[in-house]
Amino acid sequence: MKCGPFRYHAPTELGEALELLGGMDNAKALAGGQSLMAMLNLRYAMPDDLIDLNRITGLAGVEEEPGGVIRIGAMTRQRVLERHAGLQHSMPILRQALLQVGHIQTRNRGTIGGSLCHLDPAAEQPAIALLYEAEIEAASAARGSRRIGMADFPAFYMTPAIEPDELVTAIRFRPWLGQVRHCFLEFARRHGDFAIVSAGCLVACDAAGRIERASIVLGGVGSAPLRLVAGEALLKGEVPGDAVFRAAAATAGDIEAMDDATYSSTYRRHLAQVMVRRCLEKAFASEEGAAAA
């Protein structure tokens, strides 16, 4: 199918885009378009106005701020991020996750901000943002800029907690320092599809080899990515090994999982446990998992 008609706007400044968005009732912002364009073509989305963000200067790019925060502009394309040498060093799990996002043709257009706002429950970038407790910068013409913690960013299924007149402008990550084990895994029927369940982890150990800090995220299970807090708590203070990984993974058996025509909540919970266990095992098994995260 083809897009329905809309009025097209291509602002070149963020302020102009926010003014437009603030004054419209049924507008959509177009980032990389790898979800929205499909929704427009299928006429799931029928906006009166389409505000194209691709001509706005200054919304794309990666910068390291004093204090170690990495600020990624919302319109930074996934292909740029997966090839970014600095990010590969400071957050290698991001590249590992990005390589599982769609295909090269979609990553050449798709943006990190677009993925966060689309907020598919199984999408990789929201999961990574939650894993790092990233902060989302959002701006409006009326109220200026504010930051939202990733834990508070999903309002409900595929809906971010931003107002209709707001745009996400950047994502702020604080990389973990030192030796950090990491892994991001997905289970999907076909390569490049959204995962049925995905799991990601960051684990740091102290000098004695005990787990000091752990972050575990699950995608595709709940209506938005979720942290496996119980599993993280179980890992803390333990020496990494099969038994403790299994115990941590088993906590995924208690989470509330989505139920749909294709995959039952029982199946998702089972798969969540398998994926968390595999994810932890892989993080500690591979050389790649040992790099700084």
């Binding site: 329905g4 378009g33 790898q34 364009m37 499909a38 073509n41 299928l42 043709q105 979609t106 050449n108």
Partner: protein, 170 residues
């Protein structure tokens, strides 16, 4: 929109080395514009929602889904389609010739998209060539005829030849 207004723009872009100007409806996607606006029917339209890869073209050197980008977004861009691959006298590119040699197509509907994905891939010399790499690169192009083996064989053959040729001139 309640009152259907025709929203149109004049755009100027470079397509296969030629500057082109045209008027398009803003809701027209790039592949429809190339086919209907410019008569370049080599790029195919399959699923129209970004899954099949038949509409893959290069925009500023990057392989993209022609159905997931508006024509108006390509204003000022350099676009390359499958029509750019062969020489004017019809001599096939190295990749096209390898596809013919290896029987890497049957119905041919997916072939333009696959060739354009590989057109991006063949310019990138930073990656180590392997069958896994080629399969990964082609994972966004669906073919319902071949089972992919001959496509991968053709791509490996041509990519190796292209690399060797580049190495020879370096």
């Amino acid at each position: 929109m309640s009152d259907t207004v025709l929203d149109e723009r004049d755009i100027a872009l470079t397509v296969n080395g030629r500057p082109r100007r045209a008027r398009c409806e803003t809701r027209t996607n790039l592949v429809d514009f190339l086919r209907h606006g410019l008569g370049l029917t080599g790029s195919h339209v399959g699923c129209e929602h970004g899954v099949c890869g038949a509409c893959t073209v290069l925009v500023d050197g990057a392989a993209i889904r022609g159905c997931l980008m508006l024509a108006v977004q390509a204003d000022g861009a350099v676009v390359e389609t499958v029509e750019s691959l062969a020489d004017d006298d019809g001599t096939l590119s190295i990749m096209q010739a390898a596809f013919a040699k290896h029987h890497a197509l049957q119905c041919g509907y997916c072939t333009p998209g696959i060739l354009m994905t590989l057109a991006e891939v063949e310019r990138d010399d930073t990656v180590e060539l392997s069958e896994d790499f080629v399969r990964e690169a082609l994972s966004g192009n669906l073919c319902r005829c071949t089972g992919y083996q001959n496509i991968v064989d053709a791509a490996m053959d041509a990519l190796t030849a292209i690399r060797n040729a580049k190495g020879g001139t370096a």
